[in-house]
């Protein structure tokens, strides 16, 4: 299958790419990893008049850590993030990067492309929203830093203006007594998750000082499960509080029935994934190394 014909531009800098996109108009698209855009174009669900390729721009996939902030270039692909020693220090980021789709897609797909596409079933938004994350955007007029919580406002819709490009993701390193986990359930490796849960816990001994919980794939954007957080915050974590948090998250989810499952099924899934994620986050808070990633049938 061939995409419909388009004009192709190879940008040399993010500023140049932003200028080109502004000039070419709203039918033009930026091309990052292309793992969503190219299949959409082949199915003719997307027919951009022009593509501005960001892949040949130097230094847009760097991962570095100035002070207590991890900065990931927009064009860093998932495999590169999964292999990064810097990212390893924040296990929830590794959970996400190492489990997205399959090896081939992780070698092409990018964190910037994923966030900018704002697919409701994307993995990065729920994970990064449990941490203090900003996205840095550039345009011909200048640059701005947007808190990630203000970035995606609807399915496939962000606050970025025409001719604006996301060029870096900036994540505050959580304190030592804080750890998280991301668990996503999918039917097989190559597909989007049916539901996912990201948890970041900050512990003071046995008591939960703070909890951040985000639900993925069960709303138009990632959903912050505030009632579930409230069940944990300021209390010792026990089987009972974990159970209550799971029940709260089940009712806070806003799933749609589709080929991945019914509303009832997805709510049950959210509850189970949250209980599992809390358990892993707690073990990590106590210093244990726990390897997790996306779960699917048949994986062992």
């Amino acid at each position: 299958m061939y995409p419909a014909a388009f004009r192709y531009y190879r940008a040399n800098s993010m500023k140049e790419a932003a200028g080109l996109l502004l000039e070419l108009g709203e039918d033009a698209r930026a091309l990052a990893g292309g793992q969503s855009l190219i299949p959409l174009m082949k199915l003719r669900l997307a027919r951009p008049s022009a593509l501005v390729d960001l892949n040949f721009i130097p230094n847009v996939s760097l991962i570095h850590k100035p002070h207590q902030e991890i900065r990931i270039g927009a064009l860093a692909h998932h495999a590169q993030i999964a292999d990064s020693k810097i990212v390893e220090q924040v296990p929830i980021l590794h959970d996400c990067a190492a489990g997205i789709a399959d090896a081939q897609v992780r070698n092409r797909g990018t964190i910037g492309g994923s966030l900018a596409e704002a697919d409701p079933t994307g993995d990065w938004a729920p994970v990064l929203l449990t941490l203090a994350t900003d996205v840095h955007c550039v345009s011909v007029e200048g640059e701005r830093t947007i808190p990630l919580r203000d970035f995606a406002i609807d399915a496939y819709t962000t606050v970025m203006r025409p001719g604006e490009l996301l060029d870096e993701v900036r994540i505050k390193v959580p304190p030592k007594n804080s750890a998280g986990a991301y668990v996503a359930f999918k039917r097989c490796p190559s597909v989007y998750a049916s539901a996912s849960v990201a948890v970041q816990l900050t512990m003071q001994g046995k008591a939960c000082e703070d909890a951040r919980i985000q639900l993925g794939c069960v709303g138009l954007t990632a959903i912050r499960a505030q009632n579930a957080e409230a069940e944990l915050r300021g209390r010792p974590i026990s089987e009972r509080t974990i159970q209550l948090a799971g029940e709260a998250a089940m009712s806070e989810a806003e799933p749609q029935p589709d080929m991945r499952g019914s509303v009832a099924y997805k709510r049950v899934l959210v509850g189970a994934l949250l209980r599992r994620a809390i358990g892993i986050a707690l073990r990590r808070c106590s210093g244990e190394h726990v390897e997790v990633s996306h779960e699917y049938v048949g994986r062992n």
């Binding site: 299958m1 061939y2 995409p3 419909a4 014909a5 388009f6 004009r7 192709y8 190879r10 091309l31 292309g34 793992q35 190219i38 299949p39 174009m41 082949k42 199915l43 593509l51 390729d53 892949n55 040949f56 495999a79 789709a101 399959d102 090896a103 081939q104 897609v105 070698n107 092409r108 097989c188 490796p189 190559s190 597909v191 699917y296 994986r299 062992n300």
Partner: protein, 163 residues
């Protein structure tokens, strides 16, 4: 759009339409039909090749994106008429039935073993998660990959992505 790239070590300078997919470039323009088109929707992995050493689905990469890149296809695995150890291991362990998915599986195996010469069972399964075998011959595929790792570790062969 002019592009330059190396395929199986051989340099090419070509002029391509921007919408040309890498897999079509390989099959139609370079006559390297070992790379198969299966689902054509970025699911099955039959079209897997190595681009700059990493396995990618060539049905989901534009040929223009491979500009200045190095591509390795299944045709580039054998050396001087001798099968690559991965190919030998698949042949010896009956790691294929109809063979349609095999080129993609060989390339995903090449990528896995280039990064991790001693993968665990779980790591092997994860590494081929993006390659679908509709004959469902996975048991022998797993056996073949384990055997390939053993062969590659016993005979010091040239890495598949070096030329």
């Amino acid at each position: 759009m002019p592009i330059q790239l190396k395929v199986n070590g051989k340099p090419y300078e070509l002029s391509v339409e921007p919408r040309l997919l890498l897999v079509e470039l390989l099959r139609e323009d370079l006559n390297l039909t070992g790379t198969h088109i299966g689902c054509d929707t970025s699911y099955c992995g039959a079209c897997t090749v190595l681009l700059n050493g990493a396995n990618v689905k060539s049905c989901t990469v534009l040929a223009v994106q491979a500009h200045q890149g190095e591509v390795l296809t299944v045709e580039g695995l054998a050396r001087n008429g001798e099968l690559h150890p991965i190919q030998k291991a698949f042949a010896e362990n009956h790691g294929l039935q109809c063979g349609f998915c095999t080129p993609g599986l060989l390339m995903s195996t090449a990528y896995l073993l280039s990064k991790n010469p001693n993968p665990t069972e779980a790591q092997i399964r994860k590494a081929i998660g993006g390659n679908t075998c509709r004959c469902t011959g996975y048991q022998n595929i797993l056996k073949a990959i384990r055997a390939a790792a053993g062969l590659m570790n016993s005979v010091a062969m040239v890495k598949p992505n070096e030329d």
